[in-house]
Symmetry: C2
Subunit: 379 residues, 2 copies
């Protein structure tokens, strides 16, 4: 992974919010004609349809009770073992993985083991992160450690990680070895990001750069791998794979910026989270760190308020109005507008990374449409 280093963030943060948006979504920079050509729903459905049976077959290989615990985590069964139809998520990663195979002139199916391996690694990290973070809910359901205990969360996470390597390496090809190496690098980045996330919790101040680095590790690295793994399996050269990784990495940062906006200003009905969700969790997300870095009266007042909150014993019982006041200060200090602009910038870098890669025009249009989809979303 060789993401372009972004310029120093500090000076680029506007001192005051220059614009207001009623919804925290970001209009895409891409040209409308490209977007209308592509049916994003069909792209996502194709990835899901190709990857899910292979993913389920892989998980079925796990010895009991790990197969059941994993099936619960994926939402295929409920806590009592009855079949369920859980929210499988947007399935952007599988869509990217099978699409990327087409860059190499291969069939979408060539990307499937890559799509499955990436999903396995993603879910390995969710299982372990939820336990480390003490999160009790994921996708509107109790997390695995809550239902099946910490040992099963550790064990099944480990098993999914191992399974990811197995699914790729049993292909027995040189390309599979290269794909696994890239996936391993991405996994190390995921782990680094979680380590940073944990260490930042204990700190008063986190810089914008540190926040972006952490988000690049936690979100960018695996999306980078998803965007290139099909191409690698299809025999693409390293330069092509690197360019696709840059696309995915910056798309991940754009995604995360939008996620951070939704974490504060998102509509609870659309996101399924509480109002001011990230503020309630004292998350040092992009709008917060950007607002704190901006300087000026609103920024200083916010810093004082958050410092007081950190010592407050009745933070848990804060009213809606108290959180709304903090959100307003973040906005006044420019944190919201900056994050919105950052999403746009990362989206542009992502789409721009495709320029160096030779690929069929409809494949390029599909990558662009998926990038637009990722930044224009409400949940």
């Amino acid at each position: 992974m060789t993401p372009e280093r972004r310029r120093a963030a500090g000076p680029r943060i506007p001192r005051t919010a220059t614009r207001r948006e009623t919804v925290p979504t970001v209009p895409p920079a891409s040209t409308p004609d490209r977007r209308t050509e592509v049916d994003v729903t069909a792209l996502l459905e194709r990835g899901r349809t190709l990857a899910t049976p292979v993913l389920r077959a892989a998980v079925d290989r796990l010895a009991p009770p790990m197969d059941t615990v994993a099936a619960y985590h994926f939402g295929w069964i409920d806590a009592d073992g009855r079949p369920a139809h859980g929210d499988g998520g947007k399935a952007v990663r599988p869509a990217l993985a099978v699409l990327s195979a087409e860059v190499a002139g291969a069939a979408p199916e060539t990307g499937v083991p890559g799509a499955v391996a990436v999903e396995l690694v993603h879910n390995f990290s969710l299982l372990h992160d939820d336990l480390m973070d003490g999160d009790e809910q994921r996708r509107h359901r109790d997390t695995v450690w809550k239902v099946h205990g910490p040992a099963q969360a550790i064990l099944v996470g480990d098993a999914l990680f191992a399974l990811a390597g197995e699914v790729l390496l049993e292909l027995g090809t040189v390309e599979a070895g290269r794909a696994t190496r890239r996936l391993t690098t991405a996994t190390r980045a995921l782990i680094d990001g979680q380590a940073q996330d944990i260490s930042y919790e204990h700190r008063d101040r986190v810089s914008v750069e540190e926040c972006l680095e952490m988000e690049g590790n936690k979100t960018g690295a695996l999306l980078a791998c998803a965007s290139s793994i099909g191409a690698v399996l299809g025999g693409a050269d390293d330069a092509t794979a690197d360019a696709l990784e840059r696309y995915g990495y910056h798309l991940g940062l754009a995604f995360q910026a939008v996620d951070d906006l939704l974490g504060i200003w998102g509509d609870p009905e659309a996101t399924g989270k509480q109002t001011w969700s990230d503020l309630r969790q004292r998350k040092k997300s992009l709008p917060v760190v950007a607002a704190l870095a901006a300087g000026g009266p609103a920024s200083e007042r916010l810093a004082e308020m958050l410092a007081a909150d950190a010592k407050s014993s009745d933070f848990e019982s804060f009213s809606e109005e108290e959180f709304a006041a903090r959100a307003a200060l973040i906005e006044e200090a420019g944190g919201r507008a900056w994050t919105s602009e950052e999403a746009r910038r990362q989206h542009a870098v992502a789409v721009g990374a495709l320029d160096s890669v030779d690929m069929p025009e409809q494949v390029r249009a599909a990558f662009t449409a998926l990038a637009d989809f990722v930044v224009v979303r409400k949940r």
Copy 2:
């Protein structure tokens, strides 16, 4: 891994103990002339000397604080970060890995990335198992989760596992892909073994077969990988690698049988464990399950006694004599003699597996000497 299935264990268990041993070690079956040719200490030292610097360089790649936590786990620093010279263990796995490269006519150095990867996976499993099992001590020191907290134990375990793949796959060769695939299979077996170990804790009865399967997964699989990975990296064919895996798998079972004997009858001064250590932990180890499977008066009395113990509220305060009585019943029922014989049998299968492999005579002698060393030990 295609371990030879052992014959049904039940009927082979002697009804009464036919012999008594004052030390729970097992005289090797190998011919004395081969053993005198080989300096086992030098073999172990060679593996340690070749692998340790590469292992330390790999661990140094981890981002802070994971590098420090890992260095503590490996015994390179103490809990305050001061340099330490911990007990690095017997280093049988690195010795086997570099030796196996010579089977393929390669230099011992060719096996080093394999030795390092196997050590990383072994230590990944120790970090996670200690947390899952709630074990507070390892190698006479507090375990990582006790010193650095559960999150670091999970995170650093994950990082070591990922690093193992990285160390191999960055070689960029077809052989590295094959080696990683075998290591991944072994890791899945490790995880299966830990899952079995956890589930057996909650059961009244475990069969001899189930116990052997669990021990094969927990100990055999990784020793199998260690015994073949250097050969794979050196370009050996699958038949050769499979035969070396059989050697390592059965050597692991022999090792574990000896370990189970030491867990009950070992000299605390040599093992560094409490007297009757495995009995205090109610471990369903081989001597226990074999004694319970044997039938007869002693076996029945033992079964009644252990069933009462499971319900007893003052088990923690049992006297030396009470544990000694249980150990005597296990011995009377034949559990000790059977396990001793099982160690010998597995040792013979291990050494026999080498017969199908063409290799220099001094390499064969070294494998045989290491097998002897593993079963003739006091800790």
